[in-house]
Symmetry: C2
Subunit: 236 residues, 2 copies
Amino acid sequence: MTPTDLEQRLRGVGPERYHHRHRFHLLMHEGKLTRAQLQAWALNRYFYQSIIPIKDAVILSRSEDPAFRVAWRKRIVDHDGDGVHPGGIEKWIQLAEATGLERARVVSGAEVLPGVRYAVNAYLELVSKHSFLEAVASSLTEMFSRDLISLRVDRLKLHYPWLSGGLTYFNARLTQAPEDAQFALAWVTEHARTSAEQDLAVAALRAKCDILWAQLDAIYFAYVEPGWPPPGALLP
Amino acid sequence: MTPTDLEQRLRGVGPERYHHRHRFHLLMHEGKLTRAQLQAWALNRYFYQSIIPIKDAVILSRSEDPAFRVAWRKRIVDHDGDGVHPGGIEKWIQLAEATGLERARVVSGAEVLPGVRYAVNAYLELVSKHSFLEAVASSLTEMFSRDLISLRVDRLKLHYPWLSGGLTYFNARLTQAPEDAQFALAWVTEHARTSAEQDLAVAALRAKCDILWAQLDAIYFAYVEPGWPPPGALLP
């Protein structure tokens, strides 16, 4: 495949298995989730947010190219902040607080669903143990996130106006994610040369979609339908 | 805590969160699962079975005590076989075949639910990255398995007589699991001396229960209620 063909194949993964199609998001955007369900989502998804800079530090640690590291380092700043302006993790805590949760309860991670925890750890394993190409390619879900976040911000404001004070995370991601995706896509299409490498890149992107999907599955099944949280999980 | 107190606390984890309480098992034992649902269970649970000797080899690799290694090695033989008699993995394949699945489809692992895959890998991570004491303690779910397997064999024969040719796995486990549990329990109660170590041992056993529970959650939610498998999963 040419780089353009590969890009098309990578972009084709989104409609097929990105989590914008997940029933939990559909309900969220239709205004059909309760405050308790949004709490469960914010608390569990925080665990994912909290490992993103760790994931990016793993990728940074595996690159031998200073230019790559400089470009990739931006992601860690975006999530951890620059010491003056809050980063994505802090903004996600503000979102969780807007749902009515206390900061300490969110940050402790004690009530995170095991299914979410395992999926998040699978992401760390993917970027640590698979090839560097796969680690970078797994970030390409950001190609699909702008449309989802853009829709989400509109619908959250419309259906859950009490959440409005907690949306700064998403506003920042509207520009950060496309920038990051553009760099990663250019890198992957340049470096995945052989057919085997191209297949690995596509598989890594699908694997990352599965990781996102599995988190929403765990939340949906525990708190929406059938609504059966495992022993020890958050009871909102 | 004395070793006896610790044993009581460890035994107390079973009634609280072992997967004999999981709705999937309750339905199984009431004869309410379809053949397709038993196929999904056998195929997914095979992935767990297939890593057990790998998990035990990790534990073996972390022990500096030849006597411990000799005792623990038995588990690998139980699952991989001795070259003449089939081990647990082969017997589980026979169970999956009795549900109507082809061997190659089971062994490939291609259709395993992501949620099951992540939970199984969390078990490998537990025994690899946590303390040796926690790795050993996580095996103590075998204290609870005899009663579950004994009930299961009776009910499978009663409700799903077409499965009867595939039950040799469970017959072997009725004696293997209690032997293994007895050794591990004696080791844990002897080696978990401080209060912190005892807490870690209990937490590891609970974490292992969560891993078993999460596998059944993934299977139940995908194939029973609401019956919504993620993209790419087995459609029985």
